[in-house]
Amino acid sequence: MLYDLRHADTRIKWLVTCLLATFGLSYVFGALMVSLYAGFTPRGVAATYRGREMSMAMPPETTMVLEHPMSVAEFAKPETHTVDTNLLIQDTHVHVPMYGVIAAALSLVVVGLSLERRRALGLITLLFAAPWLDFAGMWLTKFASPRFAIVTLVGGWAMGVGYLVVAALAVQQMWFSRERS
């Protein structure tokens, strides 16, 4: 095949390396941001997307008032960052196209690697499936069951794993392979 990163012009190799480094940086800060808001546990993700546990499944027939005492310390407790339906619609609208572009860029790198066709297809599928799982988990957690928080976590980790595999293979084949030109 004409497109082979091992034998590509150095400028192309450098471009791909810079792209991977930039994605890597954004993934590191993406992970930090997740740790600040939703966390990496099913419970934390469920609390973020499911909303407050005290909320009623259906609106009451007449408006109801519940009151409970609070201490000042409770105001200082870290708030659970919640994502309601409107914000989830906005997040999905904004993030999914971007994730698609990132998956496409990483897939273009995969196509240029020396990999068995089956493995390349699997890797490309992983790159696109990961964000789908991420967002499917958020929606299912909100509307089906908090148990689906695990799907979001699997999707998030799959994005990280997909990136690391592509980056490691690309760097190895472009700069350290014996067959490179």
Binding site: S55, E67, F75, M98
Partner: protein, 183 residues
């Protein structure tokens, strides 16, 4: 520009920046319920007709259909009530804390959260005296902080002041409709 680059540019332009805390909640509580030594969270779970009425009045559906008033007391005396209201904007959410006196007038307003992008706009608007405009407003009044800072702040600060106006209007409408001094 090819399609992937175009999509990337659009996504970058639309990306919502992370939220930052401008005033911590305990600080907002102490500023807006001064002297209180006991606090209560009063959660008003709205019926469908009441939720519809509120939405029609101020274009707002509170999260999970619940409006929460934080009530402060000093011994037996009421100090007032406080609401935290979120306003979703195309640039991400902001949060506005609106404190009321026991008589029902606005004691003060603080912008407690904004996105990284909007933070400088909020600071400019507040620096131009935005929050002074809301003091002593009563339920039924229409907040117009954006107009009050015209000429003293830039367009983006005026824009964000309009979003703060929405938050204050929502707090006033909820207070008028659902807050009673004794629950």
């Amino acid at each position: 520009m090819n399609m992937p680059m175009l999509l990337a540019a659009i996504a970058a332009v639309l990306h919502i920046t992370p939220a930052v805390v401008l005033v911590k909640r305990p600080d907002a509580v102490q500023a807006l319920l001064p002297g209180a030594d006991a606090y209560f969270a009063r959660e008003v779970h709205l019926s469908t007709p009441d939720a519809h009425r509120l939405h029609k009045a101020v274009d707002w559906s509170p999260e999970d259909g619940v409006v929460t008033f934080y009530v402060g007391r000093a011994g037996p005396a009421a100090v007032g009530a406080l609401e935290f209201v979120r306003v979703d904007t195309p640039h991400g959410p902001i949060e506005v804390a609106v404190g009321f006196t026991p008589q029902g007038a606005v004691r003060g307003v603080l912008v407690t959260k904004a996105t990284v992008e909007m933070k400088p706009w909020v600071l400019e608007a507040v620096g131009a005296g935005l929050t002074n405009h809301y003091r002593q407003l009563n339920p039924g009044d229409t907040p117009n902080g954006a107009a009050s800072i015209a000429g003293r702040a830039g367009d983006l600060a005026k824009y964000v002041a309009g979003e703060v106006d929405k938050g204050v209007a929502r707090a006033l409408a909820a207070y008028e409709a659902f807050y009673r001094e004794s629950a």
